[in-house]
Symmetry: C2
Subunit: 654 residues, 2 copies
């Protein structure tokens, strides 16, 4: 090849400058600084085939420093992916462009995950590396044998989640995970030394990582460091000493190149400095061809892999796992398969365990775990053994006290494919994981959150451990199905729905305390999101709306009202997003507008006006909880039949 690596890298720099300049918005500093490192990675190390971005055994490349999105757009274009086209790149950051401000997995094959919220890309990569090792152990190296490469900046490393991700990766000995740290010593506010004095390599080593270092602008040195990282059996951090905005003669090495266009003059100066004479968005033919040739490098590996798959004894199961289709009826059957063992009065976290027993036995793709609350979340079933560095075939991950890290890792596992992750913690700690839950939803990642202890039913642990605003505020995250089942039947139904959903996350909010079973089975009513659980006997004057542990209270209130001759429907609403997806006739039948509607839920009332109307009653808790036994708390907060019934009677009189 006659093209020098510098020219290959300068193609990335030129496209990055041009894209940002055209948009007059974006982040040229990172792509220009990491262009040399990325060139070595993509031309020599990364296993990929632009002709099939979904090849299951490809290496995963994660741009954790997602603001540097022009780096991945340039690389995908140069190596010959169908998308982005050069026109897509010209439309960088414009509405509707595949080249969004931050890389989005749903916009471009080849973008493995959506990054931008700092720290999470690297933490998702940990999940991808877990999935790889797990599938390698379950199948074999003939089918699964790839690496996960990450480009991360100082921001990714400073965020708290980095500690969780690094700890988990080190503990699990994920040797095929290699993080290329863009060590440019610059943050938005200025020098990294303004806010940090950390010896980062020492910290990584303390968690069992291998650390290599290189001059990020010396191709030979980069090559040596990547080879070292690839060879080491531990996860590797490669410290790449770089100059941010490298090539822009007057701005490089400063935060001025980080987050805005360089400006016409500086772009011209950079072109001169780099010896890059092509017009904007144009790549000289020889360089273009050289890059495309590198893009074809993986085709042979890919073909060999396809040959191995074609004759592999586990081919059907492997393809099933990668496809990820789960039939809802099958899932329901599995979720109910332990039904004869479910007691009448049982916490939904416990009925969740019964459902999970059937599901995990039938679905080897389910990989569970908990953020150190296994015995409280009931997430570990008999078929799940611990995953460890010694046994990646294990299907249960002891995530440790790392809620955010767990959630991000699950995102990575789901995006990798071949596994369906679920993980538990207390619902109140959904706050710790919230940035990753949001990314599950944005990325349409199939992750199942098992959040137990979902209300003041937590009891004595008090307000810091009692969700109040959580259920409602989670309902506000687009694309997230929030389930709050009321008994064992609904719990099994919700599990089946969650498991069968391919294109997004689900979250189950489950009770600590025992709940009465209110249904015996029948149609899968939870699929409607909300349904009439009990019809009024006397002429209907009120509709009671409730979820989870408050459904049995609603039933008792209905009985008390009926005893006074007041007919009351009870509507259970385990999943609002599913209910809203029903047609208006169904919704109007279940929740008629011409009638008093009363919501009962042990959380904030804000939001319930959607269903009660402003003239309805909203029974809930609009302050923080308190420490005390459950019964005392429900009385204190007025969530009892005796406290609620008279309010309804009074309201009806008006």
């Amino acid at each position: 090849m006659g093209v020098a690596p510098t020219d290959l890298a300068n193609a990335i720099r030129a496209l990055s400058m041009d894209g940002v300049e055209a948009a007059n918005s974006g982040h040229p500093g990172m792509p220009m600084g990491m262009a040399d490192v990325a060139t070595v990675l993509f031309t020599k190390y990364l296993k990929f085939d632009p002709a099939d971005p979904k090849w299951p055994d490809r290496d995963r490349f994660v741009l954790s420093a997602g603001h540097g999105s022009m780096l991945i757009y340039a690389l995908l274009y140069l190596t010959g992916y169908e998308q982005p086209t050069i026109d897509d790149i010209r439309q960088f950051r414009q509405l509707g462009s595949h080249c969004a401000g931050h890389p989005e997995n749903f916009e471009l094959p080849g973008v493995e995950c959506t990054t931008g919220p700092l720290g999470q890309g690297l933490a998702m990569a940990v999940g991808m590396a877990i999935a790889e090792r797990h599938l390698n152990a379950v199948f074999d190296a003939a089918l699964v044998d790839h690496r996960t490469w990450v480009v991360a900046g100082d921001g990714c490393l400073m965020e708290g989640i980095n500690h969780e991700a690094v700890g988990l990766a080190g503990h699990l000995g994920l040797g095929r995970l290699n993080v290329l740290w863009d060590d440019n010593r610059i943050t938005i506010d200025g020098a990294v030394s303004l806010s940090s004095s950390e010896d980062i390599p020492a910290r990584y080593r303390a968690s069992g990582w291998h650390v290599a270092e290189c001059d990020g602008h010396d191709f030979v040195d980069i090559d040596r460091a990547l080879a070292e990282a690839a060879a080491d059996p531990r996860p590797s951090l490669v410290r790449c000493r770089t100059i941010i905005g490298k090539g822009a003669p007057n701005k490089q090495g400063t935060s001025k190149t980080h987050g805005s266009a360089l400006g016409k003059d500086e772009v011209a100066a950079a072109r001169a400095n780099l010896g890059w004479h092509a017009a904007p968005f144009e790549i000289p033919e020889d360089i273009r061809k050289a890059w495309l040739d590198f893009g074809k490098r993986g085709a042979r590996d890919h073909a060999a892999w396809q040959d191995r798959l074609a004759t592999h004894s586990d081919r059907a199961e492997f393809e099933r796992r990668i496809a990820g289709d789960v039939d809802l009826e099958d899932a329901a059957g599995w979720a109910f398969s332990n039904w004869d063992r479910v007691p009448v009065s049982v916490a939904t976290r416990k009925s969740s365990e019964f459902a999970l027993e059937g599901l995990t036995a039938a679905m080897p793709e389910l990989v569970g775990g908990s953020a150190d609350l296994t015995g409280s979340n009931f997430t570990k079933t008999p078929v799940l053994s611990n995953m460890s560095a010694e046994d990646y075939a294990g299907r249960y991950i002891n995530y440790g006290i790392r809620e955010f890290g767990m959630a991000a890792a699950m995102n990575g596992m789901a995006l990798h494919g071949g596994v369906i992750p679920f993980g538990g913690t207390f619902l109140v700690f959904a706050d710790y994981a919230r940035p990753a839950i949001r990314l599950s939803a944005i990325q349409q990642a199939r992750v199942i959150y098992v959040m137990t202890h979902d209300s003041i039913g937590v009891g004595e642990d008090g307000p810091t451990h009692q969700p109040i605003e959580h259920v409602m505020s989670l309902r506000m995250i687009p694309n997230l199905d929030v389930y709050r089942p009321c008994d064992a039947v609904e719990t099994a139904e919700c599990w089946a729905l969650a498991v069968a959903k391919k294109d997004g996350p689900s979250l189950l909010a489950l009770s600590r305390q025992n709940l009465q079973q209110v249904r015996t089975g029948g149609d899968m009513l939870s699929a409607k999101g909300g349904y009439r659980l009990r019809a009024a006997i006397a002429p209907r004057q009120v509709v009671l709306l409730a979820t989870g542990s408050e459904v049995e209270i609603a039933i008792a209130v209905a009985s008390a009202l009926e005893a006074q001759g007041i007919g009351a429907d009870v509507v259970s609403m385990p999943c609002w997003s599913r209910f809203e997806a029903q047609d208006s006739a169904y919704r109007a039948d279940v929740i008629p507008l011409d009638m008093l509607r009363v919501s009962i839920e042990a959380g904030v009332t804000l939001g319930w006006e959607r269903y009660t109307g402003e003239n309805g009653l909203r029974i809930g808790i609009d302050s923080f909880g308190a420490s005390g036994p459950i019964k005392a708390l429900y009385e204190h907060f007025g969530l009892t039949t005796d406290a609620i019934t008279p309010q309804i009677v009074e309201k009806l009189k008006k």
Copy 2:
């Protein structure tokens, strides 16, 4: 003294066992394991005076492992605090008891902060240590010269926030911060080695900490280690090797002692094992007296300090700072003092800077910062210089890319007193800080969050950076005042209200993009939370409700409606919690029920039904955002006069 330290420590163990046993709920393992270490700390090192729990120059003691709350309750009782009484301890974990499941700062003087959500206590202690060094530099060692001591467990150290807290403390060289790590090698799920392989001391050293080690059950060794920690100029981690549940012969050293009562038999066995023959909740007279004597140890220091204060030249200012009273009218005057420099069309993040310039100049207690977005948040005014290990008098903290750590540190600073912290990040990253924002609210901590880039107005950075559900979901956190001002006048008003509020946090959601000024001043209308900004001219048929950047859209829509002869009020609602605190007559006047009401806000519509009723219109965004220029996004999501007006006209026809 004739009482052996073992007996002092066993008093803690006995009370811990008895409290948990009576409640049949709680965590005996940690207090029993750390009883020896705590005994050395409280009898020899901690500077405190039970007669005055609010003595400003006391050492701060933070039980970061808050589940071990019986440790602090026992210590406060034994050293002679007025509360808790022994009856309070008997009522441990009962509704209304001062001895809640987790320690609550609003329940008990002597409990410096509310802990339980793991990792946050230590991170708040960093803030306390910052406040101490800052006030020491601003005043002098005669008035401010104390330490911050923390008891933390493996959970606190494994959480991501620990990385942020440790990084910040190391960078700022907070030598008076000493963390006592309860190294018992046990988590809830079992051995720490199930989930972690980290060399924790090495990690702390990598961030500039000093690490000492001791046998946590050898009083001489503990004493040596604490002395070493106190003497070292760096922040110190003291690794205390302990046995969880130490004293319970059959359960100690296992996770069985962590989170539930030991049981009658094991308590009896522990009493025998410890040689503790007193009845439950009884402390032998000699031990009781010895502990009370230790409790009086600080009185002399306290008296000497009061003498120094009495004659100190800065006494008045110091007392003013500690009292923390800020007059709202004064605050408003300062917030508007740069008024003549405010342009007509300006982003609220920029008008926030103008308000802050006046406030920071007038109020030396304001200590600002940003999580590496200073130039975007506009949080740094000319009077604020950087705080550093070399200059603690600086009033601006470069928090680094540590949103959660910043929020937790601000909680600690606010709880310490003498400073009012404010800190900035992008609103979308409120998710990263959410667990600490919740704790600000629970703890009634005076923290001001400056959250800019508050909608799709973010523009090209796209959905990962565009808040959609954030404003509404923050409104759901009890005790948190969420402000979304619409122009420069409201921004200054909201700043004044936030600064003057003593008993809780405030959050300002501010625009990236320029907004028209819609008011010229006058009464402080934002204090009402919502108010009529424009009255209808034609006969009123509709009331438009909006916040922040959508108020100018509402005004334009009103004009378009008036042009068609449809009278439309415009109501600006910068702060829902303040509006709800108004009387019902005021609320009904501003938002009449007998009229079409339309909300316009660039975020989720769920929640707006509270004010629009179910028959109103809710204009908002119920999906994730997109990457593109601002104008294109507002058009895409239908947030324009042209898109909204016809919907209202149509609705009025029905």
